[in-house]
Amino acid sequence: MVATESAKTTRTLVSTRINGEETEFICEPRQSLLECLRDGIGLTGTKEGCNDGNCGACNVLMDGRLVNSCLVLGVEAQGAEIMTVEGMAGPAGLHPLQQAFLEQAALQCGICTPGFLVAARALLDQNPDPTEHDVRFWLAGNLCRCTGYDKIVRAVLEAARMKPAAANVQAVHAGNGMAAGASSAKATAKTNGKANGKG
């Protein structure tokens, strides 16, 4: 069967809220939400690992529900509230999960990290005090090939213990070049490379 030119098939305007912002995009019915986010809107934080729902790298929250965006059609996002990894940090700073991932060294190559952060966020939203078993079961839909999961699980458990306010203003220690002003001396000693208890 000879394929015909597809460019002129029905395109749809989709209205949605992404990371709290009203956003519109145009897509063909066949396009996945993943494709729309990455190529249409330019939010490349959500990743493609397999495109058939088996790795979780494309996880986003849709109306509060954890989904594989490679298995959601773009048109299904009409009227929905979408959260991607780009929406996890707030004006006050990183989400505790992001902070914990940095401090616990829960990422190596980082390609699976957006999916894990979104998935873990969904877990903590509904179960703020999970056990190790809860965390491992919930995250079984996210594949990581670098870490062996140990430090990821520890980071999620640590984030559950952190109070939201404690995550403020840790940006300085993640290497974005701002002066080391606002953090506690303990955090400074731990993360700016001096031996513990010194300097």
Binding site: E132, G175, A195
Partner: protein, 788 residues
């Protein structure tokens, strides 16, 4: 005068808890106490920065989704490229008709093997190994034959990915299918279908003129193994078969290329080595390296599988034809079917011991599936197979064999895991027959400094004994394990680690911070480990050193991020560059103080001459007025890399009804020489262990009779998930490598070597039956126990 950074205090034992606070328990590193805790560092010397756990410099971008990986690259006018791949495992290509595809609106260019000049049968140095140019080109786009299902045949560039995919369906290829062979011993038989008409077996330099799928045979002999076996009181001989497995990185391969009308080519890709990619592109495309710029993006895992190029040359050819940038992304199915997995193998190991527990002779035959083209890591396997042991008589034969599977690529300590799966089971059986504790038996025969390996060279300072001793002391090894169908296994692995050149430049800023420019793609935290080494020399904090990973135009030649070399070699270059900075700044201080430069000392971040002192930061502010900017450089090609040993202790429980093996507890003990950033060393240990667990219990390529992979998805090529595993406890032992200023040994690869063998030993202890085939999946266990 430059003072080399030295440890500040005497060796201590650090017991670290899970979130990395260095809680010293005050134990001496030589004590015989039990080792407890999830992540232990038996540290050998404390420093200001080295050995601490700062947040990595690129961490912020990676947890916020801002980091740019290869598939995220966007350029104006971008076209999308897709690749047509062979459905046959072995076939001649009689003709390719692209006319219908070219007529599809939106298609801008099509390329086939005809667009690559025929490669000469010549071998070039790729830095981490050599490559045959003809075969490299044929693997990118097939010439007269396809040698595996998934072999690339043509590339299409179009205005959308969908149109490019539709165009692939319109390309007509006339195939003459040929019989396929997909298993190593079958491929070695004299009646096997031959993949390459001109391939004859080369036996270490001697061309035998024998047409064969065996491309290479080599042999190591030490002493007199036949006599040694006669003198042995106990001999155990076993054969193992291991299935093909894939590196399994979560990010598929990608490449974006812009070949301008001025003849200059720019490529963006996720690669383990921008310079290795540049060299390959130069050879494949017949373009001088001066005209090629490779910009390494962030990379989503490699493990050796992203050293060879796949999509980049096709994207480049399409760009040349269209005059526009072209991006080619691989699908997951293509990744599994067309990028190099690690070889499936056959390994035979025979070992003989005297009744007082000394291994007196060893023999191995190792045959590896190289895939469609020769070049498997069978040589590396031979260098590792018996290397944890001091054995006076040995013989190792290695065979590199082509089969109709994708051309193999390195996978984390390539070859060593297959070899250890055989050796460590034989060692376990010998220990059992002798009535010896398995760790004690290994200690009795452990390789040490001065031990001669069967492949010939003598070990320098190594940590084999220390790793085994720490294993014995670990609470896991001493904990009772009760319950039916439960068992404990141990194994040890070795990897030699490599050197290769690296180049680093350090620019001093007038606020006392420095910018560090390097060319090693950061897959596991090496921006941090490299910056920390420079910081230690300069007396700065880790975050006062600001590292960047740059493209091939912007730094000197740097070898791949692989081979466990990055923290060692690029770190070494950073140390040299930092020392160069100190030298130059000492001259500036001398100028200011009107003394001779050799009278200026530098210690703890301060320059001094007599009573005069200036902190690094203060002197940095004066550079503009004392001669201009200071840039330090370090170019190294170090030869003192140190090999590494790792052991596993694993407890399993086997369900005899379903055949499923549950990992109850897992501990990795490894010699890192000096752990620059212990969290990322632990990460390598844990990640490699889990890849090994997947290899042991489940991963394999299911090939049907036509040579097609039938499980080319992450559903059916199933890798371990968080729910399959417990925590992976770690012990870092530090036996310093004399070939590095801080004692660093490579850590990335050895963790994957012992797990399958340790798990096999644990299963044997649990159910009284040994498995000699990988994977040891439920079906294999039920067959071995006679249930099915």
């Amino acid at each position: 005068m430059v003072t080399t950074a030295r440890p500040r205090t005497a060796p201590k034992t650090n017991g670290n808890n899970a979130n990395g606070n260095g809680k010293k328990n005050g134990k001496n590193g030589n004590a015989t106490g039990v080792l407890t805790g999830s992540n232990i560092v038996l540290t050998n010397g404390e420093y200001n920065v080295v050995g601490t756990r700062p947040v990595r410099h690129d961490g912020m971008d990676k947890v916020t989704g801002r980091a740019i990986y290869g598939a995220d690259v966007k350029l104006p006018g971008l076209l999308h490229g897709k690749i047509l791949r062979s459905p046959h495992a072995h076939a001649r290509i009689k003709g390719i008709d692209t006319s219908k595809a070219a007529a599809l609106p939106g298609v801008k260019a099509i390329v086939t093997g005809a667009d690559i000049a025929t490669g000469e049968d010549r071998v070039i140095d790729l830095g981490e190994g050599s490559g045959n140019v003809k075969w490299m080109r044929e693997n990118i786009l097939a010439d007269a034959k396809v040698l595996y299902k998934g072999h690339a045949i043509a590339g299409v560039a179009a205005t959308s990915a969908l149109i490019a995919e539709q165009a692939l369906k319109l390309i007509e290829v006339d195939y003459e299918p040929l019989p396929a062979v997909t298993e190593v011993r079958a491929a070695m038989r004299p009646d096997a279908p031959l993949l390459h008409d001109g391939l004859t077996t080369a036996s270490l330099g001697k061309k035998t003129k024998k047409k064969s799928n065996v491309a290479k045979h080599f042999q190591f002999v030490l002493g007199d193994p036949d006599k040694g076996f006669k003198q042995a009181d106990i001999v155990v001989e076993r054969e193992v078969d291991t299935a093909t497995v894939h590196q399994g990185y979560i990010e598929p391969q990608n490449g974006t290329a812009m070949w301008g009308q001025d003849g200059n080519l720019t490529v963006w890709c996720s690669t383990q080595g921008a310079f290795a990619a540049r060299d390959q592109l130069s050879e494949i495309l017949d373009l001088p390296v001066s005209r090629i710029k490779v910009i390494p993006t962030e990379i989503g895992g490699g493990f050796g599988g992203k050293i060879n190029v796949y999509t980049e040359p096709v994207a480049a050819l399409l760009s040349r034809k269209t005059g526009r940038p072209v991006k080619v992304l691989m699908s997951r199915a293509d990744v599994l079917q067309a990028t190099g997995p690690t070889p499936g193998s056959y390994v035979r190991v025979k070992m003989g011991a005297t009744k007082d527990g000394r291994i007196i002779a060893a023999e191995a035959e190792i045959a590896f599936e190289a895939g469609g083209y020769p070049g498997s890591p069978v040589g590396a396997a031979a260098e590792c197979v018996f290397s944890p042991y001091d054995i006076p008589n040995g013989r190792i034969d290695g065979y590199d064999v082509v089969v109709n599977k994708p051309r193999s690529s390195p996978y984390r300590a390539p070859g060593a895991t297959q070899a250890a799966f055989a050796t460590e089971q034989v060692v376990d059986e010998l220990a059992q027959k002798l009535g010896m504790d398995p760790v004690d038996f290994r200690l009795r025969n452990a390789a040490k400094e001065g031990t001669r390996r069967i492949d010939g060279p003598v070990f320098k300072r190594i940590g084999c004994v220390e790793v085994l001793e720490a294993t014995k002391r670990h609470a896991h090894y001493q904990a009772p394990l009760g319950g039916p169908n439960r068992g404990r296994g141990v194994a040890i692995g070795y990897w030699f680690n490599i050197g290769l050149p690296s180049s680093v430049a350090i620019h001093v800023n007038d606020d006392g911070t420095v910018h560090l420019v390097e060319g090693s793609t950061d897959i596991g935290g090496t921006r941090a480990s490299i910056a920390m080494q420079a910081a230690e020399v300069l007396g700065l904090t880790a975050h006062e050193v600001r590292p960047s990973v740059v493209d091939t135009d912007s730094i000197g030649f740097t070898g791949v991020t692989g081979g466990s070399r990055t923290t060692y070699a690029t770190g070494y270059a950073a140390i040299e560059a930092a020392r160069d900075v100190v030298r130059q700044m000492s001259e500036r201080a001398a100028l200011l103080w009107e003394v001779e430069p050799e009278n200026v000392g530098f210690k703890d971040g301060t320059f001094s001459a007599g009573r005069k002192k200036l902190a690094f930061k203060e002197l940095a502010g004066k550079l503009g007025k004392t001669g201009g900017p200071v840039t330090g450089r370090g170019n190294v090609d170090p030869k003192g890399q140190g090999g590494a040993f790792a052991t596993n202790i694993v407890d399993v429980e086997v369900d005899l009804e379903t055949g499923k093996t549950q990992i109850l507890r897992f501990t990795v003990v490894q010699d890192a020489g000096k752990a620059i950033h212990p969290s990322y060393v632990e990460g390598q240990m844990q990640g490699g262990a889990v890849q090994g667990i997947g290899w042991a219990l489940n991963e394999e390529y299911w090939m049907n009779a036509r040579g097609e992979m039938t499980n080319a998805s992450l559903l059916d090529y199933r890798m371990p998930t968080s729910y399959d595993l417990p925590m992976i406890d770690t012990v870092i032992v530090e036996v310093p490598n004399p070939g590095h200023p801080f004692g660093v040994r490579g850590v990335g690869e050895v963790p994957i070597v012992p797990p399958p063998a340790a798990i096999a030993n644990a299963i044997a202890a649990a159910i009284g039956t040994r498995l000699y085939t990988l994977p040891m999946n439920p079906g294999a266990i039920l067959e071995a126990t006679g249930v099915i």
